[in-house]
């Protein structure tokens, strides 16, 4: 006996009672369904809204409401939207069949129906609905679990670092007291151990974050040679301690400004250089960066860390980049470390569309290398030239621009700058006004504030895109979001509703100028 919750419920909507009975008999013959009938469109809608069904069989030709209207009503009501609807009708013209699927039905069966066909189709769609629900549920659970894990990691990190602060801070205070040589030596061991412990904690947290897919990459302008220089500076004292020469060489024609996450690049480099220093007893460690390829969009670089250390055997190399693996368990005892460093580096490079590897011979040193892909930045040059143009008071090709913005001061700032660049400006106080003005006038560009009274910028954009679709499909006016609160993911939201770009408030005149240049350039294409 199935409980009410798990039983499959089917609603049949048909104005002819004998049809309902025939279908019901056919269905019950094959499966243990709970079948309920409704003999008009209105009664069908009422029943579908009152309880949860797994499937609806819907006639089309009925007095008062026809099947298409019932379907539309159920599709526009959130709780019934996902209930699969099968039309069961004698209307066999192609237009009706197409209309049936367009209105959101999952299937279309012609009357008179074959019993076996009805049974089979109903079974398939009930199964599909259940599978879909299970998938949605599983996905929700996964999201909840990932959130819990990430929160746990953040708290864990905090809880461990708090007492570490007391330990490491007091070690530093201890150094300042009167200590004999033995005490100094012991204290130094505590000091080094606490630094190692902190490294391990960082490694484990990083690794768990990678596993949970929680690592986030920034996209910011940076200079490769500056970052390499900084890494060398940080590690030079360590190299000196081991009497090693630490040097770097960055190929000259690498673009000066790239877009990517410099913190991650430094993290990998520090990891590889630390390893090299650890396993090299004499000689040198050198860092080389070469350009693999560059175009307007992306730049690929190869970073190498070359040492004159003990080298690695063939077998050792194969295991190197796996988690929790060092070439030999005795290495852990002698040199320490979690064995996570290279696994983390491998994951990070892969996230930058790169590869990581090693070339080595036992006794002859090793070269650890990785490649990474960055966006090529032209922003700097653009901003520079924009600054120059503004200073020279040069004007842009005139555009008719609508600024939707409720704040009076921001209206004035936008108007002042845009008119200064040679444009014609109109203001809308809110989303409703923006949509109305868009319909009445012919603009080249719209700046859209996100938070506005009456109707916000997102909704107004959706409306404008709808109007365009109806009136002049294929032609879209550029809409630029203007907002003060840019959170991660906001940009995607703006693009999703159909905006083309965004500018954060407060913006600088040169930013605005270069954005307009971009719009003008795209308009020409």
């Amino acid at each position: 006996m199935k409980t009410a919750e798990f039983i499959t419920k089917v609603l049949i909507v048909d104005d002819v009672k004998t049809n309902i009975v025939k279908m019901k008999d056919a269905l019950l013959e094959s499966e243990d369904y709970l079948v309920i009938g409704a003999n008009s469109g209105r009664s069908g809608i009422a029943k579908a809204k009152a309880q949860r069904f797994d499937l609806i069989l819907l006639d089309i030709i009925m007095p008062d409401l026809d099947g298409f209207e019932v379907c539309n009503e159920l599709q526009s009501y959130e709780p019934t939207r996902d209930v699969p609807i099968i039309f069961l009708t004698s209307k066999n013209d192609p237009e009706s069949i197409i209309k049936g699927f367009r209105s959101g039905a999952v299937d279309y069966i012609l009357k008179p129906f074959s019993k076996e066909e009805l049974q089979a189709r109903v079974k398939v769609h009930v199964q599909l609905k259940k599978t879909r629900e299970e998938l949605i549920h599983a996905k929700e659970m996964a999201v909840v679990a990932a959130k819990a894990k990430s929160l746990f990691l953040a708290n864990m990190s905090h809880e461990i670092r708090t007492p570490m602060n007391g330990i490491m801070g007091m070690i530093d205070m201890f150094y300042q007291t009167k200590l004999d040589e033995k005490q100094k030596e012991y204290l130094k061991i505590i000091d080094v151990s606490s630094e190692n412990l902190l490294c391990i904690i960082n490694d484990i947290l990083d690794f768990s974050k990678i596993e949970a897919g929680q690592i986030e990459f920034e996209s910011i302008n940076f200079s490769v040679s500056d970052e390499v220089e900084e890494v060398i500076k940080v590690l030079s004292y360590k190299a000196k301690e081991n009497e090693l020469l630490l040097q770097s060489k960055v190929q000259e024609d690498i673009p000066k400004v790239l877009i990517g996450d410099p913190v991650r690049i430094k993290q990998i480099l520090i990891n590889l250089i630390n390893n090299a220093i650890k396993f090299t007893s004499e000689g040198s460690v050198s860092v080389q960066v070469v350009l693999l390829e560059t175009n307007d969009f992306t730049t690929r670089l190869k970073f190498s860390v070359v040492d004159t250390g003990i080298g690695i055997s063939e077998a050792g190399m194969a295991r190197l980049f796996k988690s929790f693996s060092q070439t030999d368990a005795s290495i852990t005892r002698k040199f320490g470390g979690t064995g996570l460093g290279l696994a983390i580096s491998k994951n990070l490079t892969e996230m930058m569309n790169g590869e990581i590897g090693v070339d080595s011979k036992e006794g002859e040193g090793s070269t650890f290398w990785f490649t990474a892909e960055f966006k090529t930045s032209s922003e700097k040059e653009v901003i520079e030239s924009a600054k120059k143009s503004i200073q020279e008071g040069s004007k842009q090709k005139e555009m008719h621009i609508l600024v939707a913005e409720d704040n009076v001061i921001n209206q004035r700032v936008a108007r002042f700058n845009l008119e200064r660049f040679g444009h014609k400006v109109e203001i809308a106080e809110n989303g409703i006004e923006a949509v109305a003005k868009f319909e009445e006038n012919n603009y080249d560009l719209i700046f859209m504030d996100i938070q506005m009274p009456e109707m916000d910028g997102m909704e107004a954009t959706l409306k404008i895109r709808e109007i365009e679709k109806a009136k002049r499909p294929g032609i879209e006016i550029p809409i630029i979001a203007m907002t003060a609160n840019t959170m991660k993911g906001d940009k995607e939201k703006f693009l999703d509703v159909g905006m083309n770009d965004y500018i954060g408030k407060p913006f600088k005149a040169d930013q605005l100028f270069s954005l307009l240049e971009r719009v003008i350039k795209q308009g020409k294409k």
């Binding site: 905090h158 602060n165 801070g169 205070m173």
Partner: protein, 136 residues
């Protein structure tokens, strides 16, 4: 041996007043011992609200710098920083926290702090950071 950690330079902050906002005893003890030897005068708060109260009472503006934790009872260090900066925008606030979320420093600077350091804090880092505002 790494000599860097052993010979410290101790700054002279006599006549300077530092407000330490921290609720963990061991961290408080470290700040207490580390900063006492700079001759600075130290005042303590254990919550965000207490820190705000102290700043509001400080009519003569004797406080020269605040060392602010993030994870505090009643009101977080970020909120406290925002409120204090409204009253005294020129008072330097250094946020110090054990939270390592990748974008924490962005949150901290967003709240209006002047500098950000991560726990565990080494003594040289503590001195150098504060010295940016109080001199050496």
């Amino acid at each position: 041996m790494n000599e860097m950690n052993i010979n410290y330079f101790t700054p002279d902050w006599s006549h300077k007043v530092i407000l330490i906002v921290e609720d963990t005893e061991t961290s408080n003890l470290f700040f207490h011992h580390a900063l006492r030897q700079t001759q600075a005068e130290l005042i303590y708060a254990e919550s965000g609200t207490q820190a705000i109260e102290l700043v509001l009472q400080d009519k003569d503006e004797i406080i020269d710098l605040i060392l602010m934790d993030i994870n505090l009872p009643h009101k977080s260090g970020l909120d406290a920083t925002r409120e204090i900066k409204q009253k005294r925008p020129d008072l330097p606030i250094v946020i110090q926290t054990a939270y390592t979320n990748d974008y924490n420093d962005t949150d901290a600077y967003g709240a209006g702090c002047d500098d950000f350091i991560l726990k565990p804090i080494r003594l040289t880092v503590l001195y150098n950071t504060i010295a940016k505002f109080l001199g050496k």
